[in-house]
Symmetry: C2
Subunit: 215 residues, 2 copies
């Protein structure tokens, strides 16, 4: 059995996206800076079909490799798949990533709009789930088999997984910047909604990686 895991980049003030998110700026004001540590890594560049990048002399590279390895399916929220504002109920929108998305596995998108699955290049397929996060994770686990299910974003999807007790491992990539507003990862959660245990810390060059076991 694999685990249900989630890795997200979070600012020092707890935001996983900046303020004023929009179709033109899906990560919000300043939000791109949360991901710059990753863009530099060979382990990020390779599945995104880009050459070069920092190798294992930056400990973040191993973390990224590990986070991506053994992933048999992905679950993501509607806003990670499509624009925050504006519809994509039509059949034209195929995600932010072009014809060959970087997931390379079946990917379950939470939505209120039924839609036929989309087969993309490179092994990614998008499956639209209208009956909630528990159903999405159950379908993803079944397809993933012995491999892990990776929960993408946004914050609301991760929060729903935590509240429903579906998440096993939370990897917080803490980036030492202030965003000052936006979407907080750990928000709208009740005290004791889940119990966390720090499993491991890796100090990367531009982010510190905190692995929490969730139960």
């Amino acid at each position: 059995m694999g685990v249900v895991k989630c890795q997200l980049s979070v600012s020092l003030d707890g935001y996983m996206a900046g303020p004023e998110q929009s179709e033109a700026d899906p990560l919000g004001k300043g939000g791109m800076a949360l991901h710059e540590w990753a863009f530099k890594l060979a382990a990020w560049r390779d599945p995104h079909d880009r050459e070069g990048g920092e190798g294992d002399d930056n400990p973040s590279n191993g973390v990224m490799e590990e986070a991506q390895a053994g992933t048999g399916a992905v679950v993501m929220g509607r806003n990670m798949f499509g624009p925050v504002r504006g519809p994509w109920g039509d059949e034209d929108w195929k995600g932010w990533w072009g014809d060959d998305p970087p997931f390379h596995v079946p990917t379950f998108v939470l939505t209120h709009h039924q839609r036929e699955p989309l087969e993309m290049a490179g092994g990614t397929s998008f499956h639209f789930v209208t009956d909630g996060v528990e159903s999405a994770v159950a379908q993803a686990k079944e397809i993933a088999g012995d491999q892990d299910v990776s929960v993408g974003g946004g914050a609301s999807t991760v929060q729903q997984c935590i509240v429903a007790g579906l998440l096993d491992v939370l990897l917080i990539n803490q980036v030492p910047i202030l965003l000052g507003g936006g979407e907080r990862l750990l928000d709208n959660l009740e005290a004791g909604a889940s119990s966390f245990e720090l499993a491991r810390v890796v100090e990367g060059r531009e982010a510190v990686h905190l692995f929490y076991a969730v139960s």
Copy 2:
């Protein structure tokens, strides 16, 4: 010259106090759990005149020793000194800590009410500063000389120090619990209000200690 430093215990969702803070419950609902890792340490128990505790087999003990060492003065906000609700403008209130507070150095309290200094047992004296955080830190630095100035709480005092560029070192003791509400440490800050660099990480038994250099 010493540095201006601050060490605070923060929940995984970023709170340094729980919801519903009151005179009877100054740390808010669940907030005491943020400090349990510290209460167990010899390095915390000793200055609080309690015996025993965990020694250096818990890496948190060394962090606590280091955070307390070399402190020549303390700055704190009004709510750390007195009840959140209710006045202490009268001369009766002498802080939460009894006759021998655990600071053992001159301690500058931000307030809107002028008041004569209070000499306590054990080397602590309380000085009431009515002209703002920059003045309080300047007075504390002058008295501290070559030693450090430690900024206590609450969140608002720390935020004011960050915004005014007064803080040099921020030690976040991240405790793996959710408080679900309350007072957030890094809140009300603008993007780029300060720049942070992770200087060191220490993995304690019940908290992870993140040392940030602030500039």
